[in-house]
């Protein structure tokens, strides 16, 4: 985008006929307007691609909107009916919300902790090994979520899965167990999948920060008698606060709206109601039941939840900065 900015050209020849005799005023107005003119294309693109769909989802959520309405194009306003239904649904409070929130908290924690540990490992490796290890974890990152999910499903498959085979070979269980039917074991597998897919991003980002921590600081701390743990938590972590903020916010957003990793698991598409989360619930209501209004209300709820968490988190970070 920046490459197209005609920075070197002031109020070019094209502007002169319009500005005429009132040059000073025109110039200051132009100076104020110019940034916006330059931003206009980008803002337009954003408005069309992001803002309009967002507004539409908001509008759908206030309607009883089904296939018929889509085909006919007629609106069908019902006020806050969808929201009332969402908030009075026992499914929301007993299944969907706990699944979504608890899972997100766990997966963000594990992803960040594990990713940071790997980053520290990478930082202490030599050039050759660092390349080898980082390409290996890149492979996990590059794997599409769908492919990754099928691999995990295969590993934990009841009859032909590696996991059950190993447990039985070790004599830890007598008969195969279907790990997908229980809410906890189901989400444990999703957690493995999501952490495995998400930690490389954290590792690489934190590594970049780690390499930027001045060596002098660490040496000084070491001379002062700080051990490895102390050096990490008292010197490195404060230096990387910004990076952790970014990593945690992004992970939170990703892990809250996890969809494919749940939907594609056996029973995850709705036949096991115990494992629904906000994303899958919204999808099955919208596209399975043709209740786009209700699905949109769930989606709006998810967005607001994420927005709330992000704002709260950014505020605490900023407050700590001020201290």
């Amino acid at each position: 985008m920046t490459s197209t900015l005609p920075v070197a050209v002031p109020a070019g020849p094209g502007q002169q006929p319009g500005s005429g005799g009132r040059r000073p005023l025109g110039k200051s107005l132009l100076a104020r307007v110019r940034p916006w003119m330059l931003l206009t294309p980008a803002l337009l693109v954003l408005a069309v691609l992001l803002l309009w769909p967002l507004v539409r989802v908001g509008l759908f959520s206030l309607q009883d909107y089904g296939l018929k309405e889509i085909v006919s194009g007629e609106p069908n306003w019902i006020g806050l009916g969808n929201y009332v239904e969402v908030f009075t649904s026992s499914q929301l409070w007993t299944v969907v919300l706990p699944n979504t929130v608890v899972f997100a908290v766990l997966s963000v924690s594990f992803t960040v902790i594990f990713g940071t540990a790997v980053a520290v490992l990478l930082a202490s490796l030599g050039r050759v090994w660092r390349t080898i290890v980082s390409s290996a974890i890149m492979a996990a990152w590059a794997m599409p979520a769908v492919t990754g999910t099928y691999v995990w499903v295969w590993i934990f498959d009841a009859d032909r899965g590696v996991f059950n085979h190993v447990l039985q070979a070790l004599g830890l269980q007598d008969a195969p167990v279907n790990w997908f039917t229980d809410r906890w074991s189901f989400y444990a597998i999703v957690l493995l999948n999501v952490v495995h897919h998400g930690f490389p991003f954290v590792a690489i980002t934190v590594l970049a920060g780690l390499l930027g921590v001045p060596k002098e600081l660490l040496e000084a701390a070491e001379i002062d008698g700080a051990g490895a743990w102390r050096r990490f938590f008292s010197v490195i972590v404060p230096q990387l606060k910004q990076i952790f903020a970014v990593v945690i916010i992004l992970s939170t957003i990703w892990d809250f709206k996890v969809f494919a990793q749940v939907y594609l698991m056996p029973g995850g598409a709705g036949s096991n109601r115990e494992v629904l989360n906000l994303g899958v619930w919204s999808y099955t209501e919208s596209f399975g039941q043709n209740r786009y209004g209700f699905g949109a209300a769930i989606a709006v709820l998810l967005t607001l939840l994420l927005l709330g968490i992000t704002v709260a988190y950014v505020r605490t970070i900023l407050k700590e900065e001020e201290l």
Partner: protein, 438 residues
């Protein structure tokens, strides 16, 4: 007329009636192909987008290559066929209807056609069918299922039915005969499990609703009945619960497998093709797919109609597919030319033979039903004498999408709920959805 169709007995009767009627109706159809292709369709330079379903049927790539060539010859238009998995298809249809990106023609499951018609996405076909002179030669059960508000939105293409498919090698080695009653199913499963502890004696899948209803009907229950304008699900009746208890009891006794709790029909097929399953409820279209998946299975399996509780037959869902023309199709004449090519004559016969389906044209159906092929005859018997229909309502698609029956099965099979609790929940949900609730 439509109202009377719901009960399984009537549907079976209709299939039989269609058969009898063929003697009268079939004669006229010979020349109708000529009338239909009156040469007015010019598709030069056009492309027709078509969605065809795939799942547990044999691969259809070669078949559609041939159809494409013939279609190009007849109309000059290109054929662009896209295969869509049954499991994803409902979502794909609904999404594309919402986005106005539907194909020109698509295979629609018989339970979906009224739903999409209700949404205004499909084009009525009566005029075309009349023009082509095909009206009298269509299988009635499929016509009923494709009719919404008095108009036909789905051209009968094929029908299929599920029966009990068993592995003959396993049966021989375990020394059991194909079962004819429920008690015999149980004793056969027991014998197989004793002989082959590592195999699945009988597959009781948790995510395959059409393998569940035969047991409900077989015990004298109903999936749902219509009284006036109100549907009531009968899944929680004592009869239905008896059927469900028998079927899920096979799993509880250890004759199924732990994995089957989350199996779809595609998983049943995979396991059966690997030779790991003694018997399973499988479709008339699966024999080809079994051999395709594993050549060694050729000649090592057979089928019998689903046994009734004390003999006879348990009714099985008469499923099928329509070919529907979507409102978004720019050239509907061209679209119907394709529909006609597929559902009549050479290609309809070939599709039925290759895939193990029963044609939707009465004159062709008769030929298939006379077959003595051991992998066709049992299904044909089930088709004619033991066919039943799921509730014919535009809302049944919502029941399927909600996975009401699968939810019930999985919670019973995983042991989280007993039959009474799970079936009551499922019946309440189905009743509510069928009556347009949520």
């Amino acid at each position: 007329m439509r109202r009377e169709m719901w009960t399984r007995r009537n549907v079976g009767a209709v299939a039989t009636a269609a058969l009898v009627a063929l003697g009268v109706a079939a004669c006229g159809s010979g020349g109708s192909g000529d009338d239909g292709g009156d040469g007015t369709v010019d598709g030069e330079g056009k492309t027709l987008d078509v969605w065809i379903m795939q799942g547990t049927n044999p691969s259809a790539d070669d078949f559609f290559d041939e159809v494409g060539t013939a279609f190009k010859e007849e109309t000059g238009a290109e054929l662009n066929v896209e295969f869509v998995e049954w499991a994803d298809a409902h979502d794909r249809f609904v999404t594309s209807i919402a986005g106005q990106t539907t194909p020109d023609v698509a295979e629609t499951g018989t339970t979906w056609t009224p739903e999409f018609a209700d949404a205004g996405a499909l084009a009525p076909l009566d005029d075309y069918i009349e023009q082509a002179g095909l009206g009298d030669d269509l299988v009635e059960g499929l016509v009923e299922a494709g009719t919404y508000d008095g108009q036909l939105y789905g051209m009968p293409w094929y029908a299929g039915v599920r029966s009990l498919v068993y592995n003959t090698e396993i049966f021989e080695q375990a020394g059991v005969e194909p079962p004819t009653t429920w008690a015999e199913i149980e004793s056969a499963a027991k014998a197989i499990k004793e002989k082959f502890p590592d195999k699945t004696a009988v597959a009781v899948p948790g995510d395959a609703e059409f393998t569940v209803y035969p047991w409900v009907w077989g015990a004298g229950g109903e999936v749902a009945t219509l009284d006036g304008d109100t549907w009531t699900s009968g899944l929680d009746s004592p009869e239905s619960q008896e059927g469900l208890s028998f079927w899920t009891g096979l799993a509880a006794d250890g004759y199924s497998s732990a994995g089957a709790t989350t199996w779809r029909e595609t998983d049943v097929l995979d396991a059966f093709a690997q030779g790991d399953v003694g018997m399973a409820i499988m479709g008339s279209w699966t024999p080809g797919a079994i051999v395709e998946a594993n050549k060694d299975m050729e000649g090592k399996f057979a089928a019998v109609p689903i046994p009734g509780k004390d003999g006879g037959m348990s009714p099985s869902v008469l499923g099928g597919s329509h070919l529907s023309v979507f409102e978004t199709a720019e050239d509907k004449d061209l679209a119907f030319a394709f529909v006609e090519l597929m559902t009549t004559g050479e290609f309809a016969t070939k599709w039925g033979e290759q895939a193990g389906y029963f044609p939707g044209q009465t004159s062709l159906l008769d030929e298939t039903l006379k077959s003595t092929d051991p992998l066709v005859a049992p299904f044909a018997k089930q088709f004619v004498e033991g066919g039943a229909s799921v509730p014919v309502s535009p809302n049944f698609g919502a029941v399927q999408a909600k996975l009401t029956t699968s939810t019930m099965m999985q919670s019973i099979l995983s042991g989280s709920e007993d039959v009474a609790t799970a079936s009551t929940k499922a019946a309440d949900e189905m009743t509510s959805l069928l009556n347009g609730g949520s």
